[in-house]
Amino acid sequence: MDKLDVRSNELVPQHIPLSREEEKELLKKLGVRKGQLPKIRKSDPCIKILEQIGEVKEGQIIKIVRNSRTARISTAYRMVIKG
C-alpha cells in the first residue's frame, strides 16, 4: 500500500516551496536574513513528502498558507532545516 500523502488531509495547510527569485524578493521585503525566519524540520511529514518529490532542499524557504481564525487566510514562511 502506498503511504498516505499527508497533504491530502484537510487539516494540513498548504506547503509551497519558493523559487530562488521568490526567496530573494521575500527576504528583501521582510528585511531579514534567512536564518531569522521560523524553521521547519526536514523530518516534518509534509517536508518529507516534498523532499521525495525532489522539490525541497535544506535551507529552502517554504510558504505555508493556512486557515486562520482571525484573518481567514494567513501566510507564513519557514526555512527547512535538518532534523
Binding site: L30, G35, Q36, L37, P38, S68, R69, A71, S74, T75
Partner: protein
Amino acid sequence: MIHSLSKKIQKIKFAYLSPDEIRKMSAIKIITADTYNDDGFPIDMGLMDPHLGVIEPGLRCKTCGGKVDECLGHFGHIDLAMPVIHVGYIKEIKKLLQTTCKSCGRILLPKEQIKEHKEALEKVEEMGGDILDFKLVAKETAKDASTRHLCPHCGAEQSKITLDKPTSFRENGHKLTPKEVRERLERIPNEDLFPLGINPDVLRPEWTILTALPVPPVTVRPSITLDSGERSEDDLTHKLVDVLRINQRLRENRDAGAPQLIVEDLWELLQYHITTYFDNQTSGIPPARHRSGRPLKTLTQRLKGKEGRFRSNLSGKRVNFSARTVISPDPSLSINEVGIPVKAARELTIPVRVTEYNANVIRELVKRGPTPEEKEYVPGVNYVVRPDGRRIKVTEKNAEPIAETIDVGYIIERQLQEGDIVLFNRQPSLHRMSMMAHEVRIMPYKTFRLNLCVCPPYNADFDGDEMNLHVLQSEEARAEARILMRVQEHILSPRFGGPVIGAIHDHITGLFLMTHGDTRFDIHQTIRILSRFEDIKLPKPKEENGKKYWTGKQLFSLTLPKDLNMSFKSKICQNCDTCMKEKCELDAYCKIQNGNLICGTVDEQVVGAFKGKVLDKIARDYGSDRAREFIDDITKMAIGSIMIFGFTTGIDDEDIPAEAKEQIGDVLSQAIKKVRDLVNAYQDGILEQMPGRSLEETLEVESMKVLGQARDKAGQIAGKQLGLENSAVIMARSGARGSMLNLSQMAGCLGQQAVRGERLSRGYWHRTLPHFKKGDLGAEARGFVQYSYKSGLEPTEYFFHSMGGREGLVDTAVRTSRSGYMQRRLINALEDLKVKADGTVRNTANTIIQFEFGEDGIDPSRGIQGKAVDVDDILLDVLGEKVFAEVIKEKVIESYGIQEKDLTSIEEMGEEE
C-alpha cells in the same frame, strides 16, 4: 545622552578556575581560622585580612590602597591539604569517569569512532549550531563510550563507576578518593576532550577537583557590629572558618602520620564543609546550621530562587522616587487623577534644570525652602545640585542664600505639584492596566485617593489595599507616560476589546434609580445633582400642574455626546419572546437619539465596567478624551442621584411573607420525598439505569437534578415576593452587585452542597455525620441544605455548608499559586517580543515570530469584536435607522457591544475575582 552602544558583546566564554588561576588572583593566602584579635583588629592571614578589601570606613585596603567605596575587594585563597570534589561539577566528573579508561585515560571508543564523533561536533560548530545542539552531540559520544567494558586502546578492563550521592564515587563497591579521581582526570589527553564537548584550551577536567579554594573578598561577606559591640560574622565567613579549621587539622594529622582512618574521616569532613560552602541544600547531606539552628545561607542560596540575587536584586530592584500607602476612594477626582498626601508630595521630587528662561522662577521656588507655609499647598525644593555635581540639601535656614547662588546649569529637585504625571501601580501586576499614569492632585490626610472607576483594572478595593507610586524623572519618560500610559488610554482593554474602566457598584445603582421609568426631580434636587459639574447648562424643564420638573433620563442625557445614536437592551431585559422595543414594560429597551436617552434604563449593560455599551461606543468613536469626560460625568451624576434617593440594604430586604415560606417548604419537602423514593427504588432494584451510567451514578444524577430544581423553584418563589422596590433586587437586577442566585440563597434555600461536583458522602463509616443512619442516601444525609441564610441552618446543614465552602477556599489558594507560576513562565518566554513597524512580531535577535501580529494585524482594543471595522455600524450611521433596518432585514439592530460568548467568559472571570 548616549544614543548607541559603541561596543557589542560578541561572545561569552565559561570555564573552570584552575588552581593556578585561583592562586594568581589571590591577594593573600589564608591560614588562620580566626577573624579579629582581642583589640578588634583583623588578624593577618586570617579571614578578615585587610588585603581582602575594606568594610570599615576610614581604613584603606592593603592591596590597592582604596577606601571603602573605591575598593571592590580582592580574593584570597586557602591551600587545601587534600584535594576535594566540587559539588557543582559532580555530573561532569561522573561523565568523564564513565567514558574514559581507568588506566590510560583515553575515551572508551576505537580511534575511528572518536574521529567520527569529533567530525560530527566540528560540523555542528561549522553550521552555526547553538550550544544546545553541541551538547546533544557530545552527550551522544558519552553515551556510546560509557557502555564499553574493555579499553580499545590499552585493553584494560573497565569496572562500573557509580555516584554515591552527593560527592563520592564507588568502583565495584570500593570508594574512590578525590585524589584518585583527580589522577584519572589528569590522564585524559587533550585531544580526547573535544569529542566530549570540552575545549581543552580553556579548561582541564582535573580542575573540577579543588586543590585550592578561593576566598571571596570581605565586601562579599561583611561582618556586622551589633549595638552591644559584639561582632556578628556573615554565614560565608562561618563556613570558611569551618573549612580552615578542618583543613588545618587534616594537614597536622597527615603530616604527623596519623592512622589512615582518622585522616580519611577528616578528609570526609573537609569535603562536607566545602560542599555545604557551595550549596547548603545538597540532597543527601544534612544542611550546615548556625548556632541557633537556622540553616546557613551559602553561595548557591545567595543566588537561587525568588529571594536570590537574580530575581530580587537584578531582575527587580527597590527604587527611589517611589511611595506606597493605603488607598481610599474619591469620586470627585477624575479617573486620570490620583490624590497624593502632602507628606508624600514633599518627599517626592522632580529634577528641574535651570535655564535662563526659568532662572527667576526657580530662585523664588528655592527661596521657599523644603516646607513652604502657604495656605494652599505649593511645591518647595529639597535639593540643589550644582554644576560641579555637589548636592546641597535645602533647609529653611539656608534657603535664601542658596536661592541667590542659583544660576543657569544648576539642577534643583522640586517637590511634586498638581498636574505632574506619576505612575500608579497595584500588585499583582498581571496586565498592562496594573500600572497606569495619573495626574497628581495634592490632598490632605495620609492615603492615596483614586476614582472608583479605576478599581477594576487595578483589581483594587479599599479594605486596606496599598498601592505604589513612582515619580518619573526625565522629560522623555513623562511624555511617553502621558501619551501611552494615561488612564484614559486604557479604557478599552486589549484582552477582549471592551471597556475595563467604567461605572461600578453604587454608580450603577445611582444611575439606575435616576433613569428607571419616569423618575422626576424637582428644581432643588436637579440643582443639587448638577452642582457637582463645573460647566453645565440646566436643560429645559418639563411642566405638570404648573410644577417644573426634570426627568432622570433628561439629566443623564447631559453626559452623552450630542450626536450619539444607538439602541440596545439593558441588563434588566428579561429576553421576552417578542420584544416590545420602545414600549417595553420594564423600561429595558434603551434608545439614544441625538444624545438623548429616549427610553430605557441605564444599568450595567450601558455604563458598567466590562459591559457598558455606551461607554464602549464613546471610547471608540469619540476618543479617549471624550470617554474620560463621560466617565467622570457619570460618576458625578450617579453619586448625586444616589445621595438624593438614599440607598441601603439589610437582611430584612429578604423578608418574605409566611405564605411564600410555606410554599417553599412544600416544594422542598416534596423534593426530599422524591429523593427518598428514588433511594427506595434504588434499594429495591427497580431504579431505571441511565445509559452509560452505573446504578449508583444514576441515583446521584437523578437526586442532584431533583434537588437542583427544587432550589431553583424555591428561589423563584422567593424572587416573586421581592420586587424592584427592594434594594437588594435593584442591585442584582441592575448589575451593581450580587445576583438573584445570591438573593434566593438568602431568602429561599441554600440548596445542595457539593465537593468535587458530587453530593457529600465522606466523613464517617458509610455516612457523613453520626446524626444519620449508616448508608442513608437521602437528601438531608448527603448535604442538602433546605434552609436559607435568613432563616438559619440546622447544625448538620451548617457543617455541610462549611465543607462546600472549604473546597472553594482550597481551590482559590491552589489556583492563584498555579496561575502565578504559569504567568511567570509565559512572561519569561514572551517578554522580548515586539510588534515592529511592518506589522511583524519579532524578538530581540530580530528573528520573526509572527508574520503579521495575530495573523490579521488587528489590535483588539481598537477593532470591534475582533474585526478592524464594524460595517453594520457604519451602515447604520450613513443610512439611518430606517433604511438600515430594510437593508438588514430580520436582524436585530444591536450594533454595538461584545459578543455574547465573550460576555459569559468575562462574567465568569469577574466572579472569580
